[in-house]
Structure formats: C-alpha cells, structure tokens
C-alpha cells in the first residue's frame, strides 16, 4: 500500500501532474532536497527545479520498505538522467529518495543524489 503511494507519487511528479502528486502528500509534509534545501510544496519544487535543470528523469532500481506500526519508511534507489540548465548532460547519477508514510500520506520526503559530485568531476 505504502509502496504504491510512493510509486504513484513519483510517476505523477515525473509526468508533471502536480495536482495528482499533491494527493499523496500530507498537508504538513516536509521535503528536503540536496543542499539541505527545504521545499514547502510541489509548486515550489517545480520552481526550484527550473533553476537547476531543464529536465530530469529517474530510473527506479529498487524500493526498500521498513514498517513500524502505522508508519512505513520507503527508500527508492536508482539513477538520474537529464540535462542541466547550462546544457550539461546528467547521466547515470545515483539518487536515493526516502519517504515516510503515515495514514496513507507522505509526511516526510528526503532526497540525496550525486549531482554535485558529478558536476565537480566535469570541472576537473
């Protein structure tokens, strides 16, 4: 059930269907992105993303679920591909998303990836 919520949420975000994606988020959800950046809602996420990349696509590799009472924590692991705003290609960059689901809603989402590192390597 929780896993389905996460997959549906990720698909909706990828399809830029923010109305659908919002349905999976609790009104008090917390989203923290690389750089320790808090994003308060999906509209802000869309705005913030625009400042970083033209598009990005996730290829899901595994989903791990840990259940604790009525709380479920799901890790989505995979790779990112896409194009940065400066035209640089994003290829095979690792990511981990962590979701906490309570009462069938995502209450906490944290995102980590190696984008900064891959950019540094490009600069070397």
């Amino acid at each position: 059930m929780s896993l389905e919520i996460v997959k549906s949420f990720l698909n909706a975000v990828e399809n830029r269907d923010l109305i659908q994606a919002k349905k999976y988020l609790s009104p008090s959800s917390i989203m923290i992105f690389p750089g320790g950046k808090f994003i308060k809602d999906l509209d802000s996420l869309a705005e913030w993303s625009k400042t970083r990349y033209k598009f990005v696509k996730k290829t899901f590799s595994t989903f791990d679920e840990i259940k604790e009472g009525n709380k479920s924590t799901i890790y989505s692991i995979g790779i990112l591909d896409g194009i940065m705003n400066d035209g640089k290609e994003i290829k095979n960059v690792r990511y981990i998303d962590r979701f906490v689901i309570e009462n069938a809603k995502i209450v906490n989402m944290q995102v980590w990836n190696d984008l900064a590192e891959s950019i540094l390597v490009d600069k070397e």
């Binding site: 959800s29 917390i30 320790g36 808090f38 906490n108």
Partner: protein, 459 residues
C-alpha cells in the same frame, strides 16, 4: 627618588617589563597614537600581581589590567603614565575535573585553548564568541561577556563558580569555590565579574563545564515579517525542548551587504527576505535531534512562520553558515570607518528600534549604512554604522540617535561588551543615579586611591 620601574624589577624578571617606546603596539589599545603607557608588566602568578598592586597603590599609580585586548569598548586603553598589567602569562590550566565538571585556570588562559582542552574530556565551556582566539578567561569574566550561546547557558557570570582576585591594596582574595551551591554570606566574586578591571584584577577562576553536545543541528532561515520572527523563536524554543543553542538574526541589509562585499562567501538563501536567522540546536543524539530539528523547521515552513530554510548537512556546511554571521571582518573593513553598537531591549521593541534608527540615520546623514544583527533570543542587537567619516561630531550624532531610542525603550546601551571609555558618557541613559552612586561607593571602598582602571565605566 627611585624610579618605579626599578621597584618593579625587584618583583618580576626584567625581561617581563617593557618601558615606554618598547611597549609593543598591541598593548596600547585603541588610542595607540595618542600616548604610551609608562610600562608594561607581565607577571606570572598572583603573588607578583599582588606585589605590583601594592607598589602602585603606595605610589598612587594607575593600573590597567589587560587580557587578550579583544574588548570592544576601550576598557584596556591606556594613557601616558599608566602601568599595564598584562595577565597573559597567567596561562596555566590547573585542573579539569570531569566529575565535578569544573575548569580551574589562570586568568590569562585564552578561551580557544580552554575550549580545546575541555573538549578532550567531552565537556564544553559554555562561553563562546568570535574573539575566542584572543580573549582570555579573565577578560571574559571582567566584561561578563555574552556570545553565541547565551540563550542556552547565560552570560559568563552564570558559569563562574569561583575566582581569585587581587584588590587595589594588593590583597589576594581567594574565592575559588567549585560548588554550584554555596550561600554562605555575600557572593564576593560577583564584585569582580563585569566590573572591567575597576575593582580588582582577576588572577584565577573556576568555571562550570557542561557535557559536550554530540550533535549540532544548524539551519539558515528566511523570514518575511517580525511577528513571524518572534513566533518562530517562541515556537523553536519550546519545540526543541531546551536544545536551542543559538538564534542569530540578521536584518536584510546585513545579509545583502555580506553578499555583495564578500563574493567568496556562500550565501544559502536568495536575497528577498526581511530577516535571516541562523538557528542551532545542541543535543546528545545526532539522529533523533536532526529529526526533531527538521520536523520543527518543516512545521514552521508549512505554517508560514518561515519562508525558506536550508539545513547544514555536515560540519563544513555548519561552519559555512556560521561564517556569514562571524567571519565578516572584511565586510566591516570595506565599510570603515565604522561605529559599532551593542544594545539590548525587549524583543517586542526590536522592529520599532531598527526602523526608527534607520529612519533617523537617513534624515541625519546623506549617505549612511546601518547593519543590524545579533543574538535576538537574548534581546541583544549589534549595529554597525557607517557615515563616511569617523569624526567625533558624527560619532556623537549617531550615539545620540541610537542611545536616545534605546533610552526611550528602557533598553541597555551595553548588552554584553561593557562600558569602558566608549560608552561612559551614556551610562546615565541606562542606569539611574542611585545605581551609579552605589557603583561609585563600591569603587571608593575597594579602591580608595582610584588606581584600578579609573575613567572607565564612569569618571
């Protein structure tokens, strides 16, 4: 007549005495261009300090105690003929007791050195401030310094359990209590804490230690209005259940000025907010604390107390965030000449104070910059003001604007830096006549010849 320096040579080794032109410039304080003190003495123990003061008292010679000379109000400044007693060689750490949690040290121990030693036994000195690399324990105590952690641990006074001081007539008063509870009679150490070297010279101290926090959760926050800022402080203070370790606020002018003058400084947020807060939680469980911290920030963001937030993900990030608040010497240098202020007032009045100050500065000076930042949680703001020159006339005008507003609000003209020479003309705006009279009575009774740092705090 025997030269007084010859007498000093019988008390301390001659190589620890410097006379006239030989006194290095760092001991001369802010008025270094005006005059040199007669001599600099660097005693190594309390007995030497005692003998020096006896001689000075008998000869009615003015003594200025000095620590690391990082004070900001001219308390260590000298005039010609003064005798400087630098405590820098009283730099022994006698004991660090992890069970009683106390540090016993000489007054000349540098704060950072003490911090590092205490850290080795997993304890923490509660006092911390930007001048940690030069300020001494004696200097911190004699100015009752504040700093970055007052919101959690209080001013220096709160962590001094005991001390040893030498009075003007050379008497060594040892009040080296190491117990938290001791109500046997007057708490004499309080006389020497915050009295800026005017009632005695501190030679040793006993400082209370705290367990070292294992976790530091730090974030930088953007806020749009003052009501939200106040609410955010109240909310985090409660929600982090006593873990709030710092709540440093920067008005937008400060943030923008750092950004434009310091291109290498990494700024975490866009420049569109009215206030920026560096918030830090200290705790003992890195994982649980971080969760609690992010939950609190998430709640604040979702409930519009704050507009934007970035959390530090590593110690390097944490240092970068603190640099925006602490490592801004270069920015102030670009603005110089500057006048600096350290004031306190009820938090509810701060918005009015800031707006009113900027308004009055704008109408008094054609071109001025006023940067406001500080330890908001402690009711303490710092101001850096630049009006293009440092003429006395300009300084007086700016003082009158700022201290005038502070006086109307019932605030203090010195929240943590002391009075020294720089603020003594304005002491009466903060202290009433009876208070100042009692200070003078104390001074007369402990130092009847007025040899200890006269002309500082009051005339």
């Amino acid at each position: 007549m025997t030269d007084i320096v010859d007498i000093f040579k019988t008390i301390i080794e001659p190589n620890r005495i410097k006379v006239g032109d030989k006194i290095p410039i760092k001991y001369l304080g802010k008025n270094k261009s005006l005059s040199r003190a007669e001599c600099l003495l660097r005693p190594v123990n309390s007995e030497e300090v005692s003998s020096i003061l006896k001689v000075c008292n008998d000869n009615k010679r003015i003594v200025v105690a000095q620590g690391g000379m990082s004070g900001l109000v001219g308390g260590g400044d000298t005039n010609s003929g003064d005798i400087i007693v630098s405590l820098e060689l009283l730099n022994t750490i006698y004991e660090i007791d992890p069970v009683d949690r106390v540090l016993i040290a000489g007054a000349g121990v540098i704060l950072q050195h003490a911090q590092e030693k205490v850290d080795e036994i997993d304890c923490m000195l509660p006092v911390d401030l930007g001048a940690r690399g030069s300020a001494t324990l004696g200097g911190l105590i004699s100015t009752n310094a504040g700093g970055n952690r007052v919101i959690r641990y209080g001013m220096t006074r709160y962590s001094v359990l005991g001390l040893e001081a030498v009075t003007a007539n050379g008497e060594i008063i040892s009040s080296m209590n190491r117990m938290i509870k001791n109500n046997a009679g007057y708490d004499l150490k309080q006389l020497f804490i915050g009295s800026e070297g005017s009632l005695g010279i501190i030679t040793k101290c006993v400082i209370k230690l705290y367990p070292k926090p294992n976790s530091f959760s730090t974030a930088f926050v953007g806020i749009d209005n003052f009501d939200s800022l106040k609410e955010f402080l109240t909310y985090t203070d409660k929600e982090l259940s006593g873990g709030l370790g710092a709540f440093e606020v920067m008005w937008s002018d400060y943030y923008d000025c750092v950004k434009s003058n310091y291109p290498s400084m990494q700024m975490p947020l866009t420049s569109k907010y009215k206030y920026y807060v560096l918030i830090e939680m200290l705790g003992s469980d890195p994982i649980k604390d971080q969760e609690k911290f992010t939950d609190a920030l998430g709640f604040a963001l979702n409930n519009k107390l704050i507009e934007d937030v970035v959390i530090a993900k590593s110690d390097t990030d944490r240092k970068k965030l603190w640099a925006i608040r602490e490592d801004v010497y270069e920015v102030f240098k670009k603005l110089s000449p500057i006048f600096t202020y350290d004031v306190s007032m009820p938090i509810k009045d701060m918005e009015f104070f800031a707006d009113e100050t900027k308004k009055k500065m704008g109408s008094m000076f054609k071109d001025s910059t006023t940067l406001i930042f500080g330890h908001l949680g402690d009711g303490n703001l710092h101001l850096v003001v630049s009006v293009g020159d440092d003429h006395d006339e300009s300084h007086r005008k700016v003082n009158n604007i700022i201290y005038g507003i502070i006086s109307d609000l019932g605030g203090s003209i010195s929240a943590e830096h002391g009075i020294g020479t720089e603020k003594k003309d304005y002491l009466k705006m903060t202290r009433n006549k009876q208070e100042i009279d009692l200070m003078k009575t104390l001074k007369r009774s402990l130092d009847p010849n007025s040899i200890l740092n006269p002309g500082k705090i009051f005339d």
